[in-house]
Amino acid sequence: MGRKLLLEKADVEGIRYFDTYRREGGYRSVEKALKSMTPDEVTEEVKVSGLRGRGGAGFPAGMKWSFLAKPEGVPRHLVVNADESEPGTFKDRYLMEFIPHILIEGIIVSSYALGSNRSYIYIRGEYAWIVDILEQAIQEAKNNGFLGKNILGSGFDCEIFVQRGAGAYICGEETALLESLEGKRGNPRIKPPFPAVKGAWGRPTVVNNVETIASVVPIINDGGAEYAKIGVGRSTGTKLISACGNINKPGVYEIDMTISVEEFIYSDEWCGGISNGKRLKACIPGGSSVPILPANLLLKTAKGEQRIMNYESLSDGGFATGSMLGSGGFIVLDEDQCIVKHTYTLAKFYHHESCGQCSPCREGTIWLDKLLHKLEYGQGTMRDIDLLWDVQKNIEGNTICPLGDAAAWPVAAAIRHFRDEFEWHVTNAQEAQTRNYGLAHYADSIEVTA
């Protein structure tokens, strides 16, 4: 059983609206923080909680907050990253669409801690209808005295503005997001200076993911120490996982990071098993950028230990035999799926989304796309597979922002674990046009009885 902190009230009718949300205990954290805590005490609770950034990088949120520069007389800003564009990831959307007030509540408390009187939600442009939901929630919070001037008589002022992007994956990278917020192309900035020192409009800025900010609510309500008791090791609290692909029950789930990957896939409480009684072939556990794993390495580590749905366990074995929890975008592939084709769609994605600023990424993603196209459509050679490996290697680590790595890793992992399938596309080019390679040796050990 998973403990729920964010989605606990998701099924309550009308939870989208202020009155219901408030009646169910909403906005208590604002009262607690503004009436009985100093901003530094709020930050301290977040540090104690061990909360790690939920956007994908997993950087400790409290530490990020403590880096915020506070020069006299210079306004500071909190910017919420709602650009959610990593393929396989749709958790923030769920939170904003169904429980928008938990985000607004988290923003108010976080803004208080950071000293931000004007905070922004940068949301991907395609989530157009969610902009209306958020703006309504903001208006409701304002009408009830939780936003605006002198909130709850504390002397703290706060406004929240929603800014829509316009279709660019790169704007999920925090400095590209800030460029976009300033009305420019989403080209990532060279760091340092980090946003904590020079962010939006040159002012000290903290950029946090939607889920991270929402998690501040239970942390302040129950205390950081209580939050840290949930989970295991450095994977504290709960994590939203958006599960998709060939499973019976795709959707958004909140887990406490102690359940096994096997349980998550096969239990009816979560994904409900592989659809159509098929068998599991492979999985990308943390959004399209993290390494794909064959079933055998997904369910158990190379050491033969059961793999758990948390930061440490999913990365056990490094990239040689492990992956990452990343954004929690859990993509499942069944035995009928073609690894070459799937990798090709991801390469097309990164090619399309590269901002074009760094040559290794701009040119490299074109090559990855073209080479995979050749292989998928039966014109590839063995040399192309080596070339593919070479190109990804030369992108990784050679770009200003992580998009280069994000484009390289899926290709590297696919070749690392499924090289035989790529070679089969060369040796059996005709056949590969009409049927898929199948499960081969990477089958899971779970017998399908259905």
Partner: protein
């Protein structure tokens, strides 16, 4: 000639007020969204108009409008089908949906039907992976697409246009 109504111009002033003084360039993305809603697509004339409203050089508007994939730089149909083709949607059959729409409307991705009614576009991940295959239609998502559902959507669009 392109020109916003007074109501829209007031709305733009409210948007500009969200940002620090002198930083009205930050309003560029929202104003381009407004312009596209109002004028259908972003012609050079429209972009120049937006530049004058925000006191920017036209190039500052062009470079932004060409960077983001949601802005239409040429006229589009009354209804734009933006079908996701990225990995998670592909796993759930987006290829067949795209092929079906091509066949049904007799256009390729990037094209518009001769009657100016429909445009088909393939797009990258829209964050609906658990409800795949899917497309964006105007402000909303159409999810769990099947051929029958596509038929229904096309009919609904035609009915709406009449």
């Amino acid at each position: 000639m392109v020109e916003f109504t007074q109501e829209k111009l007031d709305q733009i002033q409210q948007i500009i007020a969200r940002y620090p003084e002198g930083r009205q360039k930050s309003a560029l993305l929202p104003v381009l969204h407004l312009a596209q809603e109002e004028f259908g697509w972003l012609s050079v004339e429209t972009m120049d108009y937006v530049a004058s409203l925000l006191k920017l050089e036209p190039i500052e508007v062009y470079e932004v409008a060409t960077f983001y994939s949601m802005y239409h730089l040429k006229p589009v149909g009354k209804f734009v089908f933006e079908v996701c083709q990225t990995g998670p949607c592909m796993l759930r059959g987006s290829d067949e949906i795209i092929d079906y729409i091509r066949e049904k409307l007799n256009i390729n991705p990037g094209e518009t039907t001769p009657d100016g009614m429909f445009t088909l576009k393939t797009v990258e991940c829209l964050g609906a992976c658990g409800y795949a295959p899917m497309m964006q239609l105007g402000k909303f998502y159409k999810e769990h697409l099947t051929k029958e559902k596509v038929d229904r959507i096309i009919e609904e669009c035609r009915a709406k246009a009449n």
